[in-house]
């Protein structure tokens, strides 16, 4: 069988970028949460806020470290596997991606060290300022990355000369049509991810009766946030969808599983899209609802996949089902927020084991929602890399062979499996050890600058020195 370097490169990119994406989406939300905790601690002087902040800063350090490690690979992927694309788009993507890198460095150099290691070294106001700057920095980082991605989805502010993109307007290129919606959508997704992870972990601690006061406060905050942000995400997502309908109608057609352009299009709850036959099997839908959602009229016209030649259609089933999973999880999130509100009077949600169990399970939900959301937008623009201008076949490295691509694909899977199972395992250890007895550790860390993981002081193995014996954690 002939190995296809294009297909293998797509799989490889999907693999490394999916792996990478889960870390920043969490750190962006968590950084803001830490800044809020620091702010509350600074304002009220209640030590419980600082206790929470200290603990979640450790988690932040480990996740941030994993994000940086997986991000290094990303910055070389464009060149190794998509060199024609890199060459053609470098005038815009080069500076934009570099700005992301220097933002991250600036952040790490100036403020991350203070946040992670400076609690006892700098005045509380400076520490709070560092926390706010780290949170701001994560947003600036995502600003650049999403500007780059959005430009590939809805290219603007450029002209093509000899197959090379030249920027004619930086503001039009950066603030391209899909950028504002994508940025809002991802920002809220980060907040939801942070909220659900903190809520889930706090719920788990409450189920075990650990650090009840602090974890109740954390859970209460998260439930308020979820109550407002989960529905807001639905609204922003709707606007994002309308923008996609305008600029990338084929993607919307794939999301809806709609083959023929027509009015009164039903909202499909279930279907098995069949790309071969260009139709769906086993459709179950609500009449005219897709038309209503997308055009705000019952008999509105929704574009169909058959408007474009078959080779310009994305893989419909992946887009169709990823979209349903994402929306399904979003709906669950809204329900969790409302349930939290219903149980709020008298603090009943602290005492209801089933609700705490639900929260514990839901802590993984935002990651699935984020990944499937990215599947929708990335797979949905196939076969285009720069939408409507450069397709994947034209973008791939010409000298790449199937064997080379397979070698590195397997290689990255092995490396990531080894490194990140260690990372996730270690993160579980940090959570297991928990908020208790964090004092006395800071002293050893006197002058350590930014080495993210080292902000967490938890031994690697289970054993005689977990939280029941904190004295051993400090020193080596």
């Amino acid at each position: 069988m002939e190995l296809d370097p294009l297909l293998l490169s797509r799989i490889q990119f999907a693999f490394v970028v999916s792996f990478h994406a889960i870390f920043p989406v969490f750190t962006i939300g968590l950084a803001s949460y830490i800044a809020v905790l620091e702010g509350l601690g600074f304002k009220t002087g209640n030590p419980v806020w600082l206790k929470l902040s200290t603990f979640w800063t450790k988690v932040f350090a480990v996740v941030f470290g994993m994000g940086v490690v997986s991000g290094i690979v990303m910055s070389f992927q464009f060149g190794t596997n998509w060199s024609n694309f890199s060459q053609a788009t470098a005038n815009f993507l080069g500076p934009v991606l570099s700005y992301e890198v220097i933002t991250a460095f600036f952040l790490e150099a100036a403020f991350l060290g203070v946040l992670l290691f400076g609690r006892d070294k700098v005045p509380p106001g400076v520490h709070l300022f560092a926390a706010i700057m780290v949170a701001t920095g994560t947003f600036i980082s995502s600003f650049w990355i999403l500007a780059a991605n959005s430009w590939m989805q809805t290219p603007a502010g450029f002209e093509l000369r000899d197959g090379i993109f030249h920027v004619t307007s930086w503001s039009e290129a950066i603030f391209n049509p899909s950028f504002p919606y994508r940025f809002m959508h991802m920002g809220l997704a980060s907040f939801l991810t942070g909220s659900f992870v903190v809520a889930g972990v706090s719920a788990w601690y409450l189920l075990r009766g650990r650090e009840v006061e602090a974890n109740r406060k954390a859970l209460s905050m998260c439930l308020w946030l979820i109550l407002f942000i989960a529905p807001a995400q639905l609204v922003v997502g709707d606007f994002h969808g309308l923008s996609t309908l305008e600029h990338q109608p084929t993607k919307v057609a794939a999301m809806e599983g709609n083959w023929e352009t027509s009015s009164n299009v039903p909202l499909l709850l279930f279907a098995i899209p069949d790309q071969e036959a260009q139709t769906n099997h086993f459709e179950i839908g609500i009449p005219s609802l897709a038309s209503m959602i997308l055009t705000h009229e019952w008999d509105g016209v929704v574009p169909g996949l058959k408007d474009v030649p078959r080779e310009e259609q994305p893989p419909v089933a992946i887009v169709f089902w990823s979209f349903r999973i994402m929306v399904g999880i979003g709906t669950l999130m809204i329900l969790v927020g409302l349930t939290g509100l219903a149980l709020r009077r008298g603090g009943r949600y602290f005492q209801s084991p089933w609700f705490l169990q639900v929260l514990r399970v839901m802590s993984i939900a935002p990651f699935i929602a984020v990944l499937t959301g990215w599947f929708v937008t990335e797979v949905g623009r196939a076969p285009w890399l720069v939408y409507g201008i450069m397709d994947q076949a034209a973008a791939v490295t010409p000298s790449l062979t199937g064997g080379m691509a397979l070698f590195t694909l397997i290689g990255y899977i092995v490396v990531y499996a080894a490194v990140f199972s260690a990372g996730v395992y270690y993160l579980m250890r940090v959570l297991y050890v928990g908020l208790e007895d964090q004092h006395g550790e800071e002293e050893h860390e006197a002058e350590r600058p930014a080495r993210p993981f080292s902000a967490a002081h938890v031994p690697f193995e289970y054993g005689d020195d977990d939280h029941s014996n904190p004295a051993k954690q400090g020193g080596h």
């Binding site: 490690v69 991000g71 290094i72 690979v73 910055s75 464009f78 060149g79 190794t80 060199s83 024609n84 890199s86 060459q87 470098a90 005038n91 993507l93 080069g94 500076p95 991606l97 570099s98 992301e100 890198v101 220097i102 460095f105 790490e108 150099a109 100036a110 090379i164 920027v167 930086w170 010409p398 000298s399 790449l400 062979t401 064997g403 080379m404 070698f407 590195t408 290689g411 990255y412 490396v415 080894a418 490194v419 260690a422 990372g423 270690y426 050893h444 860390e445 002058e447 350590r448 600058p449 930014a450 080495r451 993210p452 080292s454 031994p459 690697f460 193995e461 054993g463 020193g475 080596h476």
Partner: protein, 333 residues
């Protein structure tokens, strides 16, 4: 409109970034290469502690270099990475393993030997891959219309294997002289002992490379044997640095061996640069041909001019904070 020769400015920035990376990540990779041969596990703790506070700052130069190349010299980026495809993977895999080993080895107990191997193996593979990349650059690339058309293993030749080994020996030398400066007692004594054999290895391998290089490419030969005799000062300086390492180790000086080793790297690097200047994708493309659009280079330069001084200040501050000797059992942990 084109007020400045921006490609030239960018060539200096990226050239500066490369030598910063080589010097700074060089000594911590070197410590990794020497890791398995250390006298004891306690010494390994000290070795790792001596580089633990600074290694990740050192590696940021590599990421900045990757992104900066895409922005300023996209042709270099989109020819080198496909041409060095397998090598780049090995480099990244090596760096990831040793990076994670840094974080977990200190926290591990029963699994410590695994992280030792990850650290030493990752450092060795990454160093060799970097040396092979340099060799591949000297060899030049098989391109048509600015696109790499060669094979997957073009970069792996006897010549690049030799440059890979040269890099291993060179980084090990940086590592051993770093340890002389940063440690004391038995570990320092060990570092003194291995430095001269390492220096001999470096001189032999670098010597073979220097003799071989003019035969790899005609332009390099012309450059060195034409009327541009002033560049011969560079190999002379390299030899002076080597002599200085020899002398300072014999006299048991502590800081000088490391400083002289850095000098040896800088002069060798400059020798390499003059061999190939102004070709950035040998044998065909100069830095002006490989550059991105003027407005793109300008757009990024504005941000970089703001950030580089801050990164340099922070770097200097970090090294200042961690100045002096690292003692056993008195790590940063």
């Amino acid at each position: 409109m084109e007020l400045f020769d921006l490609p030239l400015i960018w060539a200096f920035i990226i050239g500066f970034g490369i030598i910063m990376y080589v010097l700074m990540d060089g000594f911590d990779l070197g410590v990794g290469i020497l890791f398995p041969f250390a006298p004891s596990e306690e010494d390994r703790d000290t070795m790792m502690n001596s580089v633990a506070p600074v290694w990740d700052g050192n590696e940021t130069w590599l990421v900045l270099g990757g992104a900066g190349l895409l922005a300023a010299f996209p042709m270099v980026y989109s020819i080198f990475l496909p041409a060095l495809y397998i090598g780049v993977f090995l480099l990244l895999a090596g760096l990831i393993f040793r990076g994670v080993a840094f974080e977990f080895r200190f926290k591990a107990r029963t699994s410590r030997y695994l992280w030792n191997w990850a650290f030493a193996g990752g450092s060795t593979i990454a160093s060799f891959a970097q040396g092979a990349v340099v060799g591949a650059y000297i060899q030049g690339f098989n391109t048509v219309d600015g696109v790499f058309v060669g094979g997957a293993l073009d970069w792996l030749t006897p010549f690049t294997v030799l440059t890979g080994l040269g890099m291993l020996a060179g980084y090990a030398l940086l590592g051993s002289t770093w340890l002389i400066m940063k440690t004391e007692g038995r570990l320092q004594e060990w570092a003194y002992r291995i430095t001269l054999p390492l220096l001999a290895a470096v001189l032999i391998i670098f010597g073979i490379i220097s003799v071989w290089t003019p035969f790899v490419d005609d332009l390099v030969r012309e450059r060195w044997f034409s009327n541009l005799t002033v560049i011969w000062v560079l190999p002379v300086l390299t030899l002076l640095c080597a002599f200085q390492i020899f002398r300072s180790v014999r006299n048991r000086l502590e800081g000088m061996p490391f400083v002289a080793t850095m000098g040896l790297f800088v002069t060798t690097y400059l020798g390499l640069v003059v061999s190939r200047w102004p070709y950035v994708v040998p044998p065909e493309y100069t830095l002006w041909e490989a550059a991105s659009a003027y407005e793109s280079q300008l757009f990024l330069l504005l941000g970089l001019l703001f950030v580089i001084p801050i990164v340099l200040t922070y770097t200097a501050w970090t090294y200042w904070v961690f100045r002096g000797k690292v003692r056993a059992g008195e790590g940063y942990h």
